[in-house]
């Protein structure tokens, strides 16, 4: 071992890190494993290998409904959050103006606010305005929840972007709008896509605030799982978990791949 590394028992550190990685992955592996268990109890011991619970899953109309609700909600709310967030991120990165620090802090506020409180607040406010709990509440709620993350993620990507190309386009006679659509937006595409995927994942995952906002009878996938867990762990939940794990792990992988392809193409 080199001399510049404090000798704190490097092997111990290595072992601890390995344990942390096992700790992070073991529960996920257990869920996927149990999804293929043919036993009816949804727990150990493994009795046999079977796809039966996946089949049951697709026959379960209420789970499919929840899936659809979650998907529509994730796409619409992250579309809104990305549109609003990208505009804000451009303003914060490209311009200096009065009150910037305050606005920056304000936009990050929801990050540290307990989700329960946010859930209660928005629900009460809507009740005060005499609006019933509706899809609209979920849509707006999810948008405000993911907005600060979009602003941060897009900002981080925009910092490295130079303005030369835009200046070139403008000096060649393009107006501001043309420049934005022909130059800025394509350059920003990875940042925008990154923000969108992040927001979509957050929305698809969200449970705490959703429990406050959803109309009785409407379920998203997480709240559906939450309701199913009340009785006991059925093997179906493990199968649903396995499907969700594959989707949520594949999505960022594909996203990262697309972004890298974009970057290489330039």
């Amino acid at each position: 071992m080199s001399a510049d590394r404090p000798d704190l028992g490097w092997n111990g550190l290595q072992l601890l890190t390995l344990c942390v990685y096992i700790f992070m992955f073991a529960p996920i592996i257990v869920v996927v494993l149990l999804a293929f268990n043919s036993a009816r109890t949804g727990s150990f011991p493994m009795e046999g290998f079977s796809f039966v619970w996946f089949g049951k899953l697709f026959e379960n109309a209420s789970i499919m409904d929840a899936f659809q609700t979650s998907l529509v909600l994730a796409v619409t709310s992250s579309f809104l959050a990305t549109a609003i967030g990208v505009m804000a991120a451009i303003a914060l990165i490209r311009y200096s103006f009065k009150g910037k620090a305050v606005i920056n802090n304000l936009l990050s506020l929801p990050l540290l606010m307990p989700e329960v409180v946010l859930g209660v607040a928005l629900l009460m406010f809507l009740k005060f305005l005499e609006q019933p709990r509706s899809y609209m509440l979920l849509l707006l709620g999810h948008t405000i929840l993911s907005l600060p993350y979009v602003v941060l993620v897009v900002q981080a990507r925009l910092v490295g972007m130079r303005q030369h190309y835009e200046e070139a386009a403008m000096s060649l006679g393009a107006n501001r709008l043309q420049t934005f659509f022909a130059v800025t937006l394509p350059l920003m595409a990875p940042a925008v896509l990154g923000g969108f995927l992040f927001a979509a994942t957050l929305s698809f995952d969200n449970i705490t605030a959703t429990l406050f906002w959803k109309k009785p009878g409407i379920e998203t996938v997480p709240t559906k799982i939450f309701a199913m867990l009340r009785t006991s762990i059925s093997p179906e939940i493990n199968a649903l978990g396995a499907v969700m794990i594959v989707i949520t792990v594949a999505l960022p992988l594909v996203g990262g791949f697309v972004v890298r392809r974009f970057a290489k193409g330039k």
């Binding site: 550190l13 727990s43 150990f44 989700e115 994942t201 996938v221």
Partner: protein, 287 residues
């Protein structure tokens, strides 16, 4: 066309308007609601009286719940510090060619649904879960251990959820340390341990602080983890809020409880901000 000096405000206006309407106004409204009167028929009447505050504040049960919530969150934070710091140190200092992959792997579970990562622990810790099956199988125990539905499983679930936050915060701050400072300390005669204690540790404190605050605040506000992994005697403050609002429809009490949680966490964040900068925390989110 918008004039140049107004352009940033124009670009920010959708964000600020949605923030004002969907966050600031609703939170202010909880405050107003906490003074309203709850009539016998369940109607809430606009009023300005401190009855709700006095009822909740005078009930030792709520204070006990707040203390329990903070106790469990503090234990979670300390475990995350003790496990997360060495791990981050290893990740920052190791010489693997593919360090990006290691970090990516650490955050992979992050993308997986929170509720799935939480109920996974039921499969691991339950009576016929993974741990008990293995221990019974090799004959170390002859009766399944009660690992689930108590404070232990809640802390496990919370640590599982918060640990990557801690690791990434410490990692970012360790990664930013100028290694020449450590070499200089060694040249000047410090032992490896002294170098760590006098140079590396103090320089990485902002990351440790940011990670700890984040762990604590997220843990103290959590609802699903204690609900799914906690036992009947687990007292978590957000569960009381949910009970008041959704089950009992007692909105004035619910608003007082929400404000109690928000204010006590706000005080902690403010005290932290007095000594350290909050921007460290936001930075780690962008990684």
């Amino acid at each position: 066309m918008v004039r140049a000096e107004y352009r940033p405000y124009f670009l920010l206006s959708p964000a600020l308007i949605s923030l004002a309407l969907l966050l600031l106004a609703p939170v202010l409204f909880i405050f107003v609601y906490s003074f309203w009167l709850r009539a016998a028929n369940g109607q809430d009447i606009p009023a300005f009286q401190f009855g709700n505050w006095i009822t909740v504040g005078g009930d030792p049960f709520y204070w006990l719940a707040l203390r329990e919530t903070f106790k469990i969150s503090a234990i979670t934070t300390v475990i995350c510090m003790l496990v997360g710091y060495p791990t981050a140190y290893f990740l920052a200092r190791c010489r693997f060619n593919n360090k990006a992959l290691l970090l990516f792997l650490l955050f992979l579970p992050f993308w997986i649904s929170y509720i799935i990562r939480t109920f996974a622990w039921i499969n691991v810790l339950g009576k016929s879960g993974f741990v008990n099956s293995v221990l019974l199988g090799i004959g170390i125990i002859d009766k399944p251990l009660s690992l689930l539905y108590n404070d232990f499983s809640v802390i496990m679930g919370l640590v599982y959820f918060q640990l990557p936050y801690m690791i990434i915060n410490v990692y970012v701050s360790l990664d930013g340390i100028d290694r020449n400072l450590e070499s200089a300390a060694r040249t000047l005669g410090c032992t490896a341990w002294q170098t760590f204690r006098e140079v590396t540790l103090p320089l990485s404190l902002p990351g440790l602080g940011a990670g700890s605050l984040l762990c604590f605040v997220l843990a103290a506000g959590s609802f699903v983890t204690p609900r799914l992994l906690g036992g009947t005697d687990t007292l978590f403050f957000s569960q009381l809020i949910y009970e008041a609002i959704i089950s009992q429809l007692d909105w004035p009490t619910g608003s007082v409880l929400s404000l109690m949680l928000l204010l006590s966490l706000g005080i902690i964040v403010a005290v932290y901000n007095r000594f350290m900068s909050l921007s460290d925390i936001y930075r780690s989110f962008a990684k």
